[in-house]
């Protein structure tokens, strides 16, 4: 059980600013996602928490205690690495036992603990094999078991399930969520998959090249992004961001002062058949939803409609949006304060 706090932490590698003056707090027992494109600083945050890197400036606190002078072994944080980093010269069992053996836990306790974890992850039958003989999914589970076998203050996972295929990934992330709730532990989870972040996290931070752009619950970030960057990072299909002078196309009469750009999520864009400024250029039926691409005044907007609407490519449509569901941004891309 632990909260993790960063206070004005900056980390550079040579000329590259990996993390720029980051301050945030991950509360106890949270499933916290760090979300951003590659090299945005997500992994750097994990390494700083682990103590594998030291911050250039600023302080890191685990449970309120500064950890600047605590070695990685003593920080009581467990980690699943992005490339898993299993020990190739040991069996799966020895990999899982490793953290306990290194901490000189009595043998009886080790056995009990290992049995418990391996059962939870369904890897009891493969423990005798070396990592080389395991499938990708099995390796993943062994790596997760190696982290879960201890009783640390927090777990960190660096995009651990990215190698799995879509269905297995979905299953695994739900299972991770369940395990996290059962164990009542803080879990910091790095991902570049917005769906993954949105679906399991109860807190998340969106990063862009070393800077934290916004922190909050996934719902807050989705509903009230503070910038076009955050708005575009979350949600699929991606939010439509159009210039303010196109307000007429989507039937928005009154723009707030200073609104240079308007964001409309595809599911909030209403498509009215029977003539208008928009032309349907593409229809993608996805089963429960249909995604439309609509060309209007040189821009392409996406609309997500329920079911299979009776529309044809090339048809002219008019567009509208509930003003309460539109997002307004200034010229720099920052959200305008709107009375929501």
């Amino acid at each position: 059980m632990a909260s993790i706090r960063f206070q004005n932490v900056t980390k550079r590698f040579g000329d590259i600013v990996a993390l720029d003056d980051a301050s945030f707090e991950i509360r106890d027992n949270a499933f916290f996602c760090l979300f951003g494109p590659p090299l945005s600083g997500k992994s750097t945050i994990l390494k700083l928490i682990l103590g594998l890197e030291t911050p250039d400036t600023g302080g890191i606190f685990i449970d309120g205690q500064p950890v600047a002078h605590v070695s990685p072994a003593k920080r009581n944080v467990a980690m699943v690495f992005q490339n898993l980093a299993l020990f190739p010269h040991m069996s799966a069992l020895d990999n899982v036992r490793f953290p306990l053996v290194e901490r000189k836990i009595p043998e009886a306790q080790i056995r009990a603990r290992v049995a418990q974890v391996t059962e939870k992850l369904h890897i009891g039958h493969i423990l005798g094999k070396p990592p080389a003989q395991l499938s990708g999914g099995e390796r993943q589970r062994v790596a997760i078991a190696r982290a879960l076998v201890r009783d640390p203050a927090a777990y960190l996972m660096d995009d651990p399930i990215s190698a799995l295929d879509a269905r297995l990934r979905e299953e695994t992330r739900v299972e991770l969520r369940r395990i996290q709730q059962e164990m009542q532990k803080t879990l910091v989870y790095v991902t570049h998959d917005q769906e993954e972040a949105m679906s399991v996290a109860d807190g998340m931070a969106v990063l862009e090249s070393g800077r934290i752009r916004q922190i909050g619950t996934p719902e807050d970030l989705y509903r009230q992004p503070n910038s076009t960057y955050v708005a575009e990072m979350l949600g699929a299909p991606r939010i439509n961001v159009i210039p303010g002078d196109m307000a007429g196309v989507i039937a928005l009469p009154n723009l707030p002062a200073g609104a240079a750009r308007i964001g409309i999520r595809p599911e909030n864009l209403r498509v009215n058949p029977g003539g208008g400024e928009g032309t349907i250029s593409e229809i993608e039926p996805l089963g429960a939803f249909t995604t439309l691409s609509i060309d209007a005044r040189g821009q392409t907007l996406k609309a997500s409609l329920r079911g299979q609407p009776d529309l044809q490519t090339g048809a002219h449509v008019s567009l509208s949006v509930d003003p309460a569901r539109a997002h307004f941004f200034d010229a720099a891309g920052n959200a305008l304060a709107v009375d929501a």
């Binding site: 682990l50 490339n83 898993l84 080389a132 990708g136 390796r139």
Partner: protein, 286 residues
């Protein structure tokens, strides 16, 4: 894959040609080692592929108990040079491997000694002769001439760059995260090295070690300059195997050559299993 017959024929012909080119000298040496004098003498002898009257005379001869009517008795037998070669090459390899791997690990992981590679390669930029003459003078001052330990020391120094370069690429290839994982899971730096890094690096150490050993084992120039009598090595001793009456003692040389081939071959076989497998096979997700 299906290939045409002419291509397959060509492929096998090419393989056999290269095999023959590399194996014929070795086979010739093996054959000669078991021939009596009359069969290996260059002048007037009837050269055959296989010994007509196989004998161990050549081996007896270099160990000083010649049963043959061979002209000369040897001043020195092969026993001491074999011991000298074994000691100098083994300890030289140990020095090179320990120092080279330690330097490689430090540079690969912590960037310590950033200009070290350049400094190391300088030893090899000059022609060996240019380097060896000053070394010879220094060794004379230090009283290391004609000792196996003096030879081992210089072997360690001149082959260290090789072990360094080889081990550095191996350490660079080993993902940091494996060590990071061990650090996070409770190991000290030293324990990570002994419990994780070294065992994973065993095949790399074995193959680099073999490479360095063969370099040291086959050295002629350094041993020629730094040993005179008591601790001459196999190559130097081999060069001295001649007599004023018969010229080069090819049979004796072949016998010694065969003996000299034994240690590297044994080592090669011993570590073969290690060589075929990748270092971090299975550690990572693919």
């Amino acid at each position: 894959m299906h290939r045409s017959l002419s291509f397959e024929t060509f492929r096998y012909a090419a393989i056999l040609t290269f095999l023959a080119l590399s194996l014929i000298p070795t086979i010739w040496m093996m054959s000669m080692a078991f021939k009596p004098v009359a069969e290996w003498q260059a002048a007037g002898a009837n050269l055959t592929w296989w010994p007509e009257n196989p004998t161990l005379d050549n081996f007896r001869f270099i160990f000083g108990e010649s049963g043959s009517d061979l002209i000369v008795a040897l001043e020195r037998t092969a026993g001491r040079p074999i011991l000298a070669s074994l000691l100098a090459a083994t300890f030289g390899t140990l020095i090179a491997m320990v120092a080279g791997s330690a330097a490689a690990y430090g540079l690969s992981r912590f960037g310590s000694g950033g200009n070290l590679p350049l400094a190391l390669i300088q030893l090899r930029i000059f022609p060996p002769m240019a380097v060896m003459i000053p070394v010879m003078i220094m060794w004379a001052f230090l009283g290391l001439i004609d000792t196996w330990w003096g030879l081992a020391l210089i072997y360690g120094i001149v082959t260290m760059p090789f072990s360094f370069w080889l081990m550095k690429t191996f350490f660079d290839d080993m993902p940091r995260e494996i060590e990071d994982a061990a650090l996070v899971e409770g190991c000290s730096r030293w324990r990570v090295f002994t419990r994780i890094t070294l065992p994973i690096m065993r095949p790399a150490l074995a193959s680099s070690g073999l490479f360095v050993f063969i370099l040291n084992w086959s050295d002629y120039l350094i041993a020629l300059l730094l040993t005179t009598r008591d601790w001459v090595t196999i190559p130097v001793y081999m060069a001295s195997l001649s007599s004023s009456m018969t010229g080069q003692l090819y049979g004796a040389k072949a016998a010694l050559g065969l003996i000299a081939a034994v240690p590297p071959v044994i080592m090669g076989i011993a570590i073969q299993k290690q060589l075929v497998r990748g270092l971090t096979f299975g550690a990572l997700k693919e």
